[in-house]
Structure formats: structure tokens, C-alpha cells
């Protein structure tokens, strides 16, 4: 076969590689903006808030997760500042008494059992161990959900390395397994998939 004869094959090969490595990862995720342009950084710096002030444990040890509107309205009954985000939040949620429908990056699927209090209180892990620098972010990145599985992009990955290079830790199953293995803890399927 001549070089000219190989061109269609190579073209198909290159287009497929490009689509598979660049186009597919983009297309497989649906991007959804968060309802409010929330700044963790502002709340940490100006209000001196800590993670557990809003993301608290209940008395029985269960994790309350995201704060409800009542918690926000405790300070934001009236606009604090003149930003557009603040005005929108007050008008659309606080005044209307409507709960923001936050998209939770770390939302685990139904078949996963995860206990925050065991990891925070017993293992002494910091929030950043899994959630990275979310607590110091100035804006909320779009929530990305897998169009087929419905899982958040932040929670699912099999490999802990890419090309032999360790990937940053997060909230994916591979991260859980890797951390448990590193610390010599049990990591059987039924630990989390009860």
C-alpha cells in the first residue's frame, strides 16, 4: 500500500484518537452551574467561618451535609455587600424562602455507605484530605455529572495513577482504596458497599 493509500486509515485513526481522548471526556459530562455563586474564601476570611460551622455533625454523629437556608439566613437576612451574587441570593432564595438546590460534588451513589464521623473524629482526617482546597475557593466550579451513570465526576475513578504518575487524592473510590491500603486498614468491598 502506498503512503497515499494509507491516508484514509491514518485520518480515521487520528480523528478517533482525538475524539476519544479530547471530545469524549468533554461530551460525557453534563455541566450544571451551582444555584448561587458561593465563595468559601470570603466566608473563611471575612466571617472567620470554619468548615464545621456550616457542615456540622448532628448530635447522633451523623453528618448534616449542606446547611439549610435557615443557617444562611441567620447572617444573610438582608444583603451583606453589594455584589450581584449576594443580591440574587437574597432575592431568589432568602426572601422567597426557597432552598437552593446545591449540586453536591461529593454525593456518593446509593450503594455506598460512608461515615464522615469515623473519618474525622476517629481517623483525625482533615476536610482537605478528601475535599482538596474547596474550603478556600473563591467560586464554585460547575457540577459535572456523567450523562450515562449519573455519578458526579468527583467520585468515580478506578486508577490511582495516570501513566505511572500518582493522581491527586479526592473522593473517588480509588482514593478510598489507596488511602486505606496505605494505612494498612481493611478495604474489602463490603466495607463501603454494605
Amino acid at each position: 500500500m502506498t503512503l497515499r493509500g494509507k491516508i484514509p486509515f491514518l485520518a480515521g485513526l487520528l480523528i478517533a484518537l482525538g475524539a476519544g481522548w479530547i471530545g469524549f471526556p468533554y461530551a460525557i459530562y453534563q455541566r450544571r452551574p451551582q444555584p448561587v455563586d458561593f465563595s468559601h474564601k470570603v466566608h473563611a476570611d471575612k466571617a472567620g467561618a470554619k468548615c464545621e460551622d456550616c457542615h456540622s455533625f448532628r448530635e447522633d454523629g451523623t453528618f448534616a451535609g449542606l446547611p439549610s437556608l435557615d443557617k444562611c439566613a441567620g447572617c444573610h437576612a438582608a444583603p451583606m455587600g453589594a455584589t450581584v451574587a449576594e443580591k440574587n441570593f437574597i432575592d431568589q432564595y432568602v426572601t422567597a424562602n426557597r432552598q437552593p438546590r446545591w449540586a453536591v460534588y461529593a454525593r456518593q451513589p446509593e450503594n455506598v455507605s460512608f461515615s464522615h464521623i469515623v473519618h474525622v473524629k476517629r481517623a483525625g482526617m482533615t476536610c482537605e484530605s478528601c475535599h482538596g482546597d474547596t474550603g478556600s475557593s473563591d467560586t464554585l466550579r460547575p457540577y459535572q455529572v456523567d450523562r450515562i451513570s449519573g455519578y458526579s465526576r468527583d467520585i468515580w475513578r478506578v486508577q490511582t495513577t495516570r501513566g505511572g504518575v500518582p493522581m491527586p487524592h479526592g473522593m473517588k473510590m480509588a482514593d478510598c482504596v489507596e488511602c486505606h491500603r496505605r494505612k494498612g486498614l481493611e478495604h474489602s468491598c463490603l466495607d463501603c458497599h454494605k
Binding site: 476519544g20 469524549f24 451513570s149
Partner: protein
Amino acid sequence: MKTTRREIMLFAGGSAVGVLFTPAPWRLITDTAMWSENWPGIPRPARGEIRSRYTNCALCPAGCAVRARCVGDQPVALAGVPGHPLTHGALCAFGLAGQHLPYYPARVKQGPVKEAAAAVAEGIAKCGPSEHVVTLDLRPGRTVSWTYRRAMAAVRNGRYVAATPEIGGPVAVDLSQARTVLSLGVPVLDGWGTPGNVIAARPGFRLIQAEAVESRTASMADLWLRIRPGSEDALARGLAGTITPAAAAEATGIPESQIGAVARELADNGPALVLGTSLLASTGRTIVARRETPVPEEWRKAAPVTDLASLPDGSVRVLMIDESAPGEYLPWNAIEKKLAPDNPVVVAFAWSLEGYGRHARYVLPVGVYPEVADDIPPAADSVAATFRIAAPLVAAPAGLVKPEGFVASAAGLPLGDTLRQRADAIHQTGRGSLFTSADGKSSALKEVSADDFWKALNAGGCWIDSPDDGAATAQLAPVAGAAAAAEDSELPLVAVLHRELTPGSPILSKLYQESNLRLGPHGVALHPSCGLEDGARAMFQTLLGKCPVEVALDAGVPPGVVLAAASPAVLDLCANGARAKVVPA
């Protein structure tokens, strides 16, 4: 430039090769698998605040107190209530999985309610002077039982039939006082009474179990008397002295000396308690009088409790059967004899078709524990009258029927909130104490308002009557299930029913079905000397009829006994201890 077919094929081939070196196909496989884990129809556990709610288990007459761990409003795990004065924190395997029962796969959820009401009304109108309108109650002693009795009193020729002697009557067993317990086939350690109470009292008494088969109670007893099948009555008479020890030994197959030793132990190591016979009613400290749980005075105008056998054959024109609460199952073939020969009306209030619903003309769906409120009569080993409500933990599906409402409506009996009326009647007595499960505290009823009493009952609370010091000495009635069968040469075997099919979680049924360690629904076990082959098809026959079974040979089953799984077909033919035979099909 002209594109040839060869070039298109090359392009496609290149694309196919290229795709294989990208994450796309592999990711699609993974994503599809994960999608299948979450597609619609797969049950999803509720998310929400975790809290405890309290109720009482209605799966059996013990009525154990239950603490439900709920996520939002959905109960996800059940446990006992530590410190409970009646149930002592215990909960059996069925109780632990009780929250699954509403999701029973074969549950009845729809039924011809209007047609059934019309047929019952017509049947009552056409009921002849020698015919009866009957309500059969599988668990007597409840507040709905009083409604049935009142309704039957309001109907011409109405009869209220209870499957077993009414629990909650004037007699109770005080296990805590017993030092020696002789059980004639009563499953003392396997579902009799209140499990937590039995376990709590167990260290205090020596248990002698007289039984032909090595039941779970026999295997855990201090002494197992392996008597001949059906010879419980002979043993009792030998111990009572109405027959000679030699005759008792001959009938039971155990040595005369052992019968003498048991008699001495009952006399010397008292207080003694004998269960399963009225011949040795050990009145006094172990058999105590118990007051009836109070009811409003106007309810006293009620039909008496009738035995099925007292009804003439062919006399029942209308039969309404409440099997919403699991209870003793009367053989259908015995009931069928009582029905009028020409087109009787039979209505079953059932949540599954595994009981009388297989035979009834109308099957009406009812709620199950823990989705409907129902009270629980005191158990046989409850020394004081009690009142507890199985408060709902989940919402009942639409379209269900309230049996008491249906029966009362058919009888033209106005019906209010009967549970509340009875709670008020109890409160008016001012007697006894109220135990609240949430804080584990007891308080005198006199200190609690009627509204607070009602609220506490609906939050798993329990009213316990005060001791009745002036009560007359009680007499122990024979315990159901231990009746000895008369000798019958045509039916040489004694049927021992293997009860593993108690209504409960489908998960428990699944374990039972897959373990293969227990008799299947159509299985019977016989001694290898029976003359049949292992796995053979055979007919199980009693006085009431016969049904096909599969034979399993087991050297652990004594000769003269047929161990039968208590399947619906077998329960239609006999009760525990009945005479039977197994013949080749």
C-alpha cells in the same frame, strides 16, 4: 476528488483501531454498568435525619417493644427496647426484620370491596333461623376482637369464633416464680410466651421437656424426656396418679423410675409449673390470676367467644375471617364443613394469599405491621393485664380495608376510634403504670393525663396493670399445640408441624428457601423405617383430607411421627399433634 469505497473502509478501519486506544469504549462499558445499578425501579434508601421511633411488634402475641431506627420517616432497622419490663430488650429474628413485611412480594393490595360488602349484606339478609353469621378471629383479645363481638351481637344469629382460647383472659403463667418447669410439648424456648421474659427467667428454673421429637426447646432443656408420640396425656396422668406409673411407662416408653424421679422433682423442687395439660394445674405462685384489660362498659354487650366445633355442620351462611394479624390457623377443611352447602359467603381479610384467601370468595387487602395501628393482648406469661399499641411506622398503601370497619358496617354498628376509647377506659381506672420506651421510665397512671397517656401509647408505651391481690386462685387452661391425639389405627402417625413459615421478612424466606436445611413447603420427614424412599412422592392424610408431599427420611425423626412443614396445604388438614398417615402417591 472521488472517494472510493476502499478509502471509506480504510477510514472506518482506522477509526475503529483508534477508538480502541482511547478511554471511550471502556468508559462506556463501566458507565453502563453503573447506570444499571441506579436505574429506576431499584429501591433507594431514604436520606434524611436519623432518629428513633418506638412501637410494639405485632407479628406474634408476644408484642415485643421495638425501637425503630428511621432515616427521615423510613424505618431502616429495628431493635428491642432495653429495660422494658415485659420484653427485656429482646426481639426475635422475625421481629428484627419486621419493617420488610409491607414489601412482601406476593402481598394482596387490591380486592373487590364493594362486591364483598354487597354479598355480605345479602347473606345476612338471607340468613335462615338455623344459620349463622360468623366472624373468625385468628388473634382474639384485641380491641378489634371486641368490635367483632359487638358486631356479631348486633346481627341476628351472629357468632364470634376465636381460633384459640382468648389470650388476655383471667390466667397467666409467672415463670419468674417457677423452679421446675415440666413442658408437655410446649415450645417454651422457641416462641412461646414473651421471648425476652422467658430468657430473663430461664436461669431460675430447671426445664424438663417431654416431647417425641428433638425440638429446639427439647435440645435446650435441662432434661429431655423422649416420650412416644401422642403420649403426653399418659405422662400427665401418670404424674397425677390417675394411672399407675407402670401404665404410664408402658404408654410413654420411658422408664418407670424416670417418671417417678420427675414426680419427685416436681414435688420437692417447687414451685413447679406444668405446661401443656390441665391435669397438673399447679395453681398458686406459678399460675396467677390476671385481670382483663379494661374496656368501655358499653362494649360488654358483646357476643360470647365461641368454639368452631360448637357450630353445627352446614350452618354458616356468612363467614368473615380476620387473618390480618398472624395467629393460630384453624384447618380450612374443618371450617369448610361448617359452611352452608348452597353458596355461602366467605370473606377473608388478608395481606397474602397463603392462608384462607385461597378458599374465600372475596379476599380483601389489609394493612400489615408496621403500617396499621393494632393493640396487642397480654401474652400467656404476662402476669398483669397490659395494653400496648403497634403504632404505625410507615404509611399504608391506598385501597386497603380495615376489617373491623367492614364487619361493623355490615352489622350496622357505629364505630369510632376504638383504640382511643379503650385507652380512655383504662385511664379512668387509674390503675397500674405507664412505661415509656423513649426514656425507659415508668410512671403511675394516675399522674398522667388521658391525652398524654394516648400519646405515649402511640409512641410505643406500655400500660401494665397493678397486681390484683384479691383475685381468686386461677386454673390453667390447656395450652394450644400440645394436645395429645387419640390412638387411631387408621392414622398411625402423629403430625408434628415444623413451623418455619411464620410471616416475616422476605429476606428470612429467602434464607429459608436457599439454605435447604429445612423442610420445603411440601416436605415431610419420616423415620427411615417408614417403608418409603427418600425423595418419594406421597400423600399426607388426616381425618380432614389429604395433600401431596415429598418424603425426606431422617433418622432424627422417631418412628410414629411425621414431621411436616406447616405449609398452607398441610395447615388446611390438621393442627399440631393430629393423627395422620403418609402413603405412596
